[in-house]
């Protein structure tokens, strides 16, 4: 029981770190967004493993809410990518650089 809990948290931490590194290194908008989703799901995994370990029902329900928010975020995000694509016909983020000081 304890081992499963710890390994779940380690997995969650790993996924979260991979997500952060992805956001920093990837240069394609979709890959960036996938990394962000990875981070959100890592957080979800932490939530569920806490809930399972402590025997709390509420943790699982909270995850449902977070997944809904993530889905709404995906909807808005993809729409923004499309409008970026319309401007320049690609979504490589380092070439969308009109705004800088």
């Amino acid at each position: 029981m304890q081992e499963i809990f710890v390994s779940n948290l380690v997995l969650s931490a790993l996924l979260f770190t991979i997500g952060i590194l992805g956001v920093m290194w990837k240069r394609n908008a979709i890959s960036l967004f996938m990394s962000v989703e990875l981070m959100l799901n890592a957080a979800n995994l932490a939530f569920v493993s806490f809930a399972y370990q402590m025997g709390l029902l509420s943790g699982g329900i909270l995850v449902l809410f977070i997944m809904t928010v993530a889905a709404a975020e995906a909807g808005v995000g993809l729409a923004i990518f499309i409008s970026m694509f319309r401007a320049k016909r690609h979504i490589r983020v380092d070439e969308h650089d009109m705004l800088h000081g």
Partner: protein, 530 residues
């Protein structure tokens, strides 16, 4: 009968009157969508500003009348209204109302779908108010997402502008990145304390142990709470544009349309600050936490004050300058937040409660003041078309003396220190720094004063540009062509001018009588109805 009893057991115990402001907003937002669907293009452009505007006004009224119980948990312990959150909510509504007033000129010139535009503004206000009032971390997170998602769309709503799309993209990716931190932070705090309600978290921390489901109790694990708060704070720093997490702010301010910038600069910051103050109030009674968190928040405040002010010095674009200035101004407020965390280590009992109240009041006073000042600056820039390069302001006083004077008032008030005592900028900073000095953070307060003096260079530089520089052919052309770009609507402009005049009046009114703000809060506390 049993079925009925079963249903009743699952229906939350919520008094409709308690959640009246939320209901008003939701009905208003839905009405916006329905009216948009029922009328043609021009009809919805004419009608929707009035629907959205009256929704916001009705919400302010329902907040003022005081339907909500004050200083008490309501709606299944999900919300809690206090001076900070109610005054904050009203200010959020007013900032969104300004965006609605500025809207028609933007909508007709850039050919923006008006249904989406006004509905999303109402949703920004809804999310902000819910966040400011919430006593539960997950509700706060969902409210924050409602607000942020609406702001991402509003940033990029001008689809023909590639700058707007780029700004929306940067805002979106960094905002989503920040919410992942926020969720993980909430997860760790939930894991440590077994609850997401702030008052229960405070109770658990007070006892030092958590009750387990199978009976018995476990010792509290401080590591989880530290890590949780650190992650949550990093997430909130992105939303508040505190350095070093402010990188999106200048680009978004520059690329987004000005009505949206008004909301990003004010509404989202008020809501996030209200949430931070509530979280800190729940956690700070635990002395182990207070020691560590003081350094964390203090560091962020320090970096924001220095980086924000130095960054603003080198900007030549008006909106980018306002973005860096907002980083610095939030830094001053984070300084007071740090004092709030450190306070339980220095005082006890009734004295502590009074001191906490004083600091919260100082923060909310400065938040309201900052809203008024930046609304005035951005609104005037919008009216004269001066949202671009600051060379356009050369000799503005000869062409448009009223606009130049209003902008000068905003700039003097934003400087705050030393020059013009009776403005809200001065009084707000005075109270913030006074609290910091009073509780032995003299060094940080001194840095805050020094950075305020640095900020005088760039704020007053604009005043000098407007009043003392010769009007050049080039400057006139610059502003004229910007004015052409942002075509004006007479009615929208007239209302915006009225709003700017009231902002100017408020700057001086709150500067002379800062306590008048809290008279309003006291009146709400009593309740005009109850």
């Amino acid at each position: 009968m049993t079925t009925l009893a079963l249903i009743q057991a699952y229906v939350p115990n919520i008094h409709p009157a308690h959640i009246m402001p939320f209901l008003v907003m939701l009905v208003g937002a839905i009405l916006c969508l329905i009216f948009d669907a029922m009328s043609d293009k021009q009809g919805s452009r004419d009608l929707l500003p009035w629907v959205a505007g009256s929704t916001l006004v009705a919400t302010i009224m329902s907040l003022l009348i005081g339907f909500m119980p004050y200083n008490r948990l309501f709606a299944e312990e999900t919300f809690r209204a206090d001076t900070f959150s109610v005054l904050g909510s009203i200010t959020i509504m007013l900032a969104c109302l300004l965006a609605v007033i500025m809207g028609p000129a933007l909508v007709s010139r850039r050919n923006i779908p008006s249904g989406e535009f006004y509905t999303l503004i109402v949703f920004v206000a809804f999310g902000g108010m819910t966040m400011a009032l919430s006593n539960e971390l997950l509700t706060a997170f969902i409210a924050l997402e409602i607000m942020s998602l609406s702001l991402y769309v509003l940033t990029g709503i001008d689809r023909r502008s590639s700058r707007a799309s780029e700004a929306a993209f940067k805002y979106f990716i960094l905002g989503a990145f920040a919410s992942a931190f926020l969720v993980l932070g909430i997860g760790f705090i939930f894991g440590a304390t077994h609850t997401t309600h702030l008052h229960e978290i405070a109770a658990v921390l007070g006892e030092g142990s958590v009750d387990l489901v199978n009976g018995g109790a476990a010792a509290l694990n401080p590591i989880w709470i530290f890590v949780g708060f650190a992650l949550l704070f990093v997430g909130m720093c992105f939303k508040l544009s505190l350095a070093p997490f402010h990188m999106w702010a200048p680009d978004v301010y520059e690329g987004a349309n000005t009505p949206t910038v008004v909301m990003i600069a004010t509404s989202s910051k008020i809501a996030a600050f209200a949430l931070m103050v509530h979280i800190v109030a729940a956690l700070a009674r635990w002395d182990l936490f207070a020691e560590g968190a003081t350094y964390l928040v203090g560091f962020v405040a320090l970096v924001s004050m220095i980086w924000g002010n130095l960054g603003a010095l080198v900007q030549s674009n008006f909106k980018r300058m306002m973005a860096y200035s907002s980083v610095a101004q939030t830094g001053y407020m984070a300084l007071a937040l740090m004092v709030l965390i450190a306070l339980p280590g220095q005082l006890e009992g009734a004295k502590l409660a009074a001191a906490e109240e004083a600091i919260k009041n100082a923060i909310v006073l400065y938040l309201v003041g900052y809203t008024v000042m930046s609304a005035l600056a951005l609104g005037i820039a919008w009216l004269i078309g001066g949202e671009g390069h600051m060379a356009g302001y050369r000799g503005l006083v000869f062409r448009n003396p009223i606009a130049a004077t209003g902008m000068a008032v905003a700039m003097f008030s934003l400087v705050g220190i030393g020059f013009t005592p009776p403005t809200i900028g001065f009084m707000g900073k005075f109270y913030l720094f006074k609290e910091a000095v009073q509780y032995n953070f003299t060094a940080l307060a001194a840095i805050a004063v020094v950075t305020s003096v640095i900020s005088a260079f760039y704020y007053l530089n604009l005043v000098v540009t407007m009043f003392m520089r010769e009007e050049t052919e080039e400057a006139g052309v610059r502003l004229a062509c910007m004015r052409e770009q942002t075509f004006r609507l007479a009615s929208s402009d007239a209302l915006t001018r009225v709003a700017m005049a009231s902002c100017t009046a408020l700057i001086f009114l709150l500067g002379f009588f800062p306590n008048s703000l809290f008279l309003i809060a006291d009146a709400i506390k009593e309740g005009f109805l109850r």
